[in-house]
Amino acid sequence: MAAYSALRPDLQAVADLVPAGAKVLDLGCGDGALLDYLVRHKQARGRGIELSEAGVMACVRRGLSVRQGPLEEGLADYPAASFDVVILSQTLPFLDDPAMILREMLRVGKSALVSFPNWGYWRCRLDLLLTGRVPLAPDLPQPWSDAPRWQAVSITDFAQFCGRVDIAITAEIYLNRGRRVRIIKVKNLLAMTAVFRLEPQRQPNPM
């Protein structure tokens, strides 16, 4: 059991926001580490969508139900409100159409959990200023040339985007080197990773 407790801190932050017994869909679930944890420790009923053959094979080895394919195709197959929680863990910078995926996540799920590396982190800002090079993401050390898509986004960018498209941020966790950052005011400067719970903004009652 000990092996499963040692979840990566950002995955642990996501897992902490999943209610026990929830129906969960993990987008880009990779080798299934998070889903496996949720099934074992949170009695979640988990499903995953993963692009790579190696990822799906690893998930099946863990006893998980995962389908191979692009996220947009997989999401489209699910009826509305099929899940309590839809997770997008560290995949946001690699999406072709992030707005569409987020919309789909909140159609298929009652809530969404999104974690992403924060390019607003002070080291990133300093890197760009001092070296003139676009900084690597704090927790994802892939250079732009190694990924099919690579879009730098900061906490402020993301929060403003959610406001524009009527998505409510109902929980937030910020991490710096695996530790939770409590100073919310300067989070965009101090956090390397952000984890948000998203829900559709309730429209004001017309009455």
């Binding site: 499903r47 053959e53 799906v56 099946v60 139900s65 997989g74 197959d77 099929s82």
Partner: protein
Amino acid sequence: MFPPNSIGLVKTQTLTFAEDEPLRLESGAALRPVTLAYEVYGRLNADRSNAILICHALSGGAHAAGYLSPGDAQPGWWDDCIGPGKAFDTDRFCVICSNVLGSCYGSSGPSSVDPATGEPYGLRFPVVTIGDMVRAQARLLDHLGIERLLAVAGGSMGGMQVLEWAAHYPQRVRAAIPIATTARHSPMLIALSEVGRQAVYADPAWNNGDYYLNGRKPDAGLSVARMVGHITYLSEQSMHEKFGRRLQGRERYGYEFQTEFEVESYLKHNGDKFTRRFDANSYLYVTKALDYFDLADQHGGSLAAAFDHSTDTAFLVISFTSDWLYPSYHSKELVKALTAAGCDVTYLDIESSWGHDAFLVEVATMTRLLGSFLDRLAGEALNSER
């Protein structure tokens, strides 16, 4: 005598049923009696919860693994995946394979003797469907005392039987593994079947299906049918790799109508070989069953509706990137429908250049994938026992 991981010597058994009350077929016709040939590998456990049914493809039979005699050169058709320690591990599971209705490997088909006339049925044998094949298999499982299968698995036409099982007997199927298959035979597939059938019809020796007592079989027609089939099991890339444009036993073109290219020689060899092991009428019946297969049509046009009651069944859907006979998008349609129906589905499109044949060839990947999936099922069964 046999390789150490072989199940070893096996025996084909038969079950005859419907001797009094005939088996009603989808066409409305009735068949009496019905014989099924089958083989069993491994042991059924005390609570009969470890049975796996293997469904064979177009030209397969009940002999899926092991050897029929000590001197037997060839093991069963899926010996790579069935045996001790293999994907379908006979140390843990009781694996059953039966020859489909309409075939010619011991089950009732057009070459069987019609009890009404004492002569082979020929075309008087009723046309059967994938649904009929599966209903007959269900009778076999009743006979073996197996109420619920841990898994039903098969590729190609075997995959169609798997889907039919999951749709029609959801309470009898814990897990379904349809491989390189489709839920609906497309017009292109029907067209390819028809070319094969026309080749048989065009052979004068076919004689409207009455050739069993003539001493001459429609080998030429059946051979051409098999050649067409064989092309569809390969991919352009695998043909490039296997044959290229190489010539067979010569240096340069002869500018004549002889077998010159390796690929021609390969097809001819396989066509000829097929006529020695398969019955032409069975080829007609079994391809016809493929063509009628359309699970959506049986459920008001909705494939998802076919699986409305299959939400307790775990599906493992497998396709291969270079399969153009049952291309990946057929499997994706299936996965889409299963997802919409709320089923538990795992899907993998395995990277392979082997075309449709990949399901028999990509042994290492299949072993890992099937092994992991079956481990989970076996684990569940163990937990529920406790």
